[in-house]
Symmetry: C2
């Protein structure tokens, strides 16, 4: 089950991160947009509601949220950074046709890995690319 905006807000408070208007707006945006948006997308959308919002603040806020563990960075492409408020372990599939990024469940325990004995693993990212079903049927 997804964390609600209220729960996320409490997590911030518990970590002594100030609940500024801008941060709450970004957090709310992330919790309601599961599309793995870029900084630009967030900025363009939120600007309509908060005209004084600065892009620097988006960068700062996402960095704060990342350090607090409330968002994760998705680097599936080498030319754009995307953000994700789904922080549980899951894989990402990017359709190279429609460019959409899909989440998928994955059993990380099922990974048969050789050569990682004695490595302390803190973070796992799985990125797939290909064609999504919709684009497949449309050819």
């Amino acid at each position: 089950m997804e964390k609600t905006f209220e729960k996320l807000k409490n997590e911030l408070k518990n970590k002594n991160i100030r609940l500024s208007h801008q941060r709450l707006k970004v957090l709310e945006y992330m919790s309601t947009h599961k599309t793995h948006p870029t900084v630009d997308m967030i900025y363009n959308d939120l600007q309509k509601e908060v005209p004084t919002l600065s892009k620097t603040t988006i960068y700062n806020t996402l960095d704060t949220l990342k350090n607090a563990g409330l968002v994760k960075v998705v680097t599936i492409e080498d030319n754009e950074v995307r953000y994700d408020s789904r922080t549980h372990e899951h894989g990402h599939f990017k359709c190279v046709s429609c460019e959409e990024i899909f989440d998928f469940d994955i059993k990380f325990d099922s990974f048969a890995t050789k050569g990682l004995d004695n490595f302390k693993i803190n973070n796992k990212d799985v990125y797939f690319k290909g064609i999504c079903p919709d684009c497949s049927t449309k050819q």
Copy 2:
């Protein structure tokens, strides 16, 4: 077993990609440096041998090699792009302490994925982060 420089050279020739001096230098560098170098690392190293080499050429060449399937891009970090001449499917582990990127074998078939039925998967990247054994013992 690794592809030798000679084999890689033949692959280029077969794909009608011209064997320019610069391309061969970059290709040779990649086939002898399995450290997942950045453009800057390649440039700085090769410049010593080929003083007229341009960074633009490194970019162009890596793009050509990527399209020819002779190198792969590693986007394990959001702030630097690395290149890999090991093109078989394998995972990458980055030690957040010494910054080294390690290869590891992985059985991609063992992935238990839910929700990717009817998705056509062309590319799989697995990125882990943590602490390598050396850095662990040094604390």
